[in-house]
Amino acid sequence: MRIEDELRGALDVAAPPPVTRLEDVLARGRRRVAVRRARIAGSALAVVAVVVAGVIAWPSGSRGVLDPVNWARATPAPEVVADPPRNSRLCREQTIPSLVLSLEGEVLAEEQMSKWRDLTQEAVSDRRVTSEDLRGLANEVPRVFKVDIGDTDSVRFSRTRSDDRPSVAADRALWATGACTPPRRWTNADGTVFQLYDATQTGQALYVFRADGRALRMEQLNVAGSLGRLPVKEWQFVRLGAAVAEVL
């Protein structure tokens, strides 16, 4: 007889009576189903929790890396001399000195100012944005451009140029606003350095140093002088700065 034929009859052997009862299998099977359902429900809850946590932690998903809330404060290189230097006397006497608002820079063209005004309007789409007549302003060889937002708010722009690398230029401007605390800083993938100075009751400054040496100085102002009532939120301010810096 061939071994294969022997194998074909291998199930036909005398066997002891089975001891497994249907009830036992059903009970174990139901427990297994319940466990599996609990796992599925748990996984679904975990996914929901992650999504909710993400939404809470990042309430405006479109802010992206330009949200300054987690930017580190600048730590300047010791060999770079800041200009102006930190005002030690003022900082000893007053923890939060008034923001120094003095913009200077290159002459601005009408077309440029027009773009910046449009970008500002996009940033505060729910408020009315105005400025001086651009053609008339252009004739005055302007170095600072001011856009008014509503009755009491405004944003001012100027541009400069530097031969230094963006990080060095940012270090030099570390105390430019007269603040005692180093500004927050973030470097973009293309080498652009964003330097955001702390807000005071009346204003906040943002300097943007591009890799090609061009720099934007921007200030948002609240003439009414109530803290927390600046024209735009920090992340909106930074986003506006990034948009303007692209068309310097």
Partner: protein, 186 residues
């Protein structure tokens, strides 16, 4: 978007079908268990050579099958349980190496508790065959599956089934301890 919606709807339908038909599931499964448990237990015995372990393997296979029962097609339920059973057996051998105790010579009389002397000799000889080869032999010859079906149930290639089958038969012939013919030899 529409594709995602369709997938979600299909999943919901499946889930509703799965979770909402507990009574029918139990009825159908009970009938299947009543008809096929002994068959599964004997298959497990051919694999492991021990009735108590065979009982445990068969029971575990049916428990797993119950959990997936709404998704199991009735015409393929045998194959489904057999696949679970075979993989459970192979897993158990992988986890507990050395659990089996090969004997140097096949005893003249079976050791399966007196349930058929001649067949016990065959089962004892089967235990001399390595687990994977044994599984191939059981599927190929005990269950008369094709090489392709065996490969599918074991999750391996047809070439692997052929080589495991040839080596398994050779080992089995040697272990069976009496001259037998073979298809491959003839």
């Amino acid at each position: 978007m529409r594709a995602t919606l369709n997938r979600l709807t299909a999943y919901w339908m499946r889930t509703r079908q799965t979770w909402g038909t507990g009574l029918r599931r139990d009825e159908e499964f009970s009938e299947f268990f009543t008809n096929r448990f002994d068959w599964a237990r004997r298959t497990a015995y051919a694999l492991c050579g021990d009735w108590s372990e065979a009982e445990e393997l068969a029971q575990n296979a049916f428990v797993k099958a119950y959990a997936k029962w709404p998704g199991v097609r009735r015409e393929s339920a045998d194959a489904y349980v057999r696949t679970i059973l075979t993989r459970l057996f192979l897993d158990s051998r992988r986890r507990v190496r050395g659990r089996e105790h090969p004997v140097a010579e096949v005893p003249e009389h079976g050791v399966a508790g007196g349930f058929g002397e001649h067949d016990s000799a065959l089962h004892v000889a089967l235990q001399q065959v390595p687990p994977k080869q044994r599984a191939v032999l059981v599927l190929r010859y005990v269950h008369d599956l094709s090489i392709e079906q065996t490969a599918a149930e074991l999750g391996c290639s047809t070439g692997n089934v052929k080589s495991q089958s040839a080596r398994g038969l050779s080992t089995l012939r040697e272990a069976y301890g009496r001259p037998v013919e073979s298809e491959s030899a003839s």
